[in-house]
Symmetry: C2
Subunit: 213 residues, 2 copies
């Protein structure tokens, strides 16, 4: 068997980045400015470069394309269907990213389209198999929400109970009972109360919580 028979595919990293904003679960999309799929929306992604792991490549892509530094990243799946990229065999190692809103302002850079957030309920046509990637990421996020602390990655370090509940309601796309939610969270033991409160609103100040027992 000669070396020639091996397939050394080009590898790209594509990232489904979610955040919760205005009571909606949103995903970050860019507008492609190159063929193929020019002027079609896509999730941010880029080629894997020498010396990178897929994870560091994902972090670089998010920094370059969206100015995002602090982010939760989880590898999802490797998409390798033949023909998924018209240019040839390109493997996409996909990641889910979660960040707290608001995202940093992206200064308009040369040759880089400004990324935009779209509600997952109103996703436009996407390039390549990116629709499938977003669906996969969403299923994973929803699946892990209830038994892990993954949801806390879209919250600031200190948060109120209603902010937390809003995250759960938004990601699961259903309303939850306030008292039952509180009971469940308390018994799961993911969060601890702080001595801080969030005031300045025109209602009773809310206690601030943080992750960790």
């Amino acid at each position: 068997m000669s070396q020639k028979e091996f397939l050394n595919p080009t590898v790209v990293v594509d990232i489904a980045l979610f955040t919760v904003e205005e009571g909606e679960l949103k995903v970050l999309l860019i507008n492609r400015d190159n063929e193929p799929f020019k002027n079609t929306r896509a999730i941010p992604g880029g080629y894997l470069l020498k010396g990178e792991t897929t994870r560091t490549a994902a972090l670089r892509v998010l920094r370059e394309k969206a100015g995002i530094d602090e982010v939760y990243l989880e590898q999802l799946y490797t998409f390798d269907a033949p023909g998924r990229d018209p240019r040839g065999p390109v493997f996409s190692v996909t990641y889910m990213a979660l960040v707290a809103s608001p995202l940093p302002e992206t200064k308009q850079k040369e040759g880089v389209q400004t990324p935009e957030l779209f509600s997952v309920k109103k996703i436009p046509k996407l390039a390549f198999d990116h629709k499938e990637i977003v669906s996969y990421a969403l299923a994973r996020l929803q699946g892990k929400l209830e038994y892990t602390t993954i949801g806390f990655n879209v919250l600031p370090k200190f948060f109120t109970f209603s902010q937390l509940q809003n995250v759960y309601e938004t990601i699961l796309n259903k309303t939850l009972d306030k008292r039952n939610f509180r009971k469940k969270m308390e018994q799961l033991g993911f969060i601890k109360e702080t001595k801080q409160v969030l005031g300045g609103m025109r209602q009773r100040p809310a206690k601030l919580y943080t992750l960790g027992k």
Copy 2:
């Protein structure tokens, strides 16, 4: 940015193949007959060849190395840590495979080590990061067992309730109550009764069930 900067890694496919045999969850290992890690156990794997997807490569590897044709395959994770293969950047796209026991007899082939089943409780030192791959596969299998039909892949098409329970007990590594198990399975609706029974044992014949409502 020149084409030279892209990393086009070599890609291998590694498979954690499980079966349930003699009340134990077993994983298929081969003995490596080449460097690196010569004479160390490893999970079956092989290079991705031109024209293959990782899935078809995994199927080919299982056919070539273990004579296995019919198999459940699920992609797990892509391992890309630098240095995971001393020869250079090699990405491993990993799969979990499940088959019913007994496995087909593997005719001893030239240059191919006979694969052997090992209890997951007694896994020897493994090559590369294969220990991590097996752990990951096991966690996935256990996690999906209770809310999917993944466990049925280690059973023949027709099976008795106690065979089914044995699979669950073995994979979860704990004993289950017979009546509660039956109730839960019946209400999950994964299985349907057939008109066949499995006799010939020196005890009361057991009804045979099959997957599907």
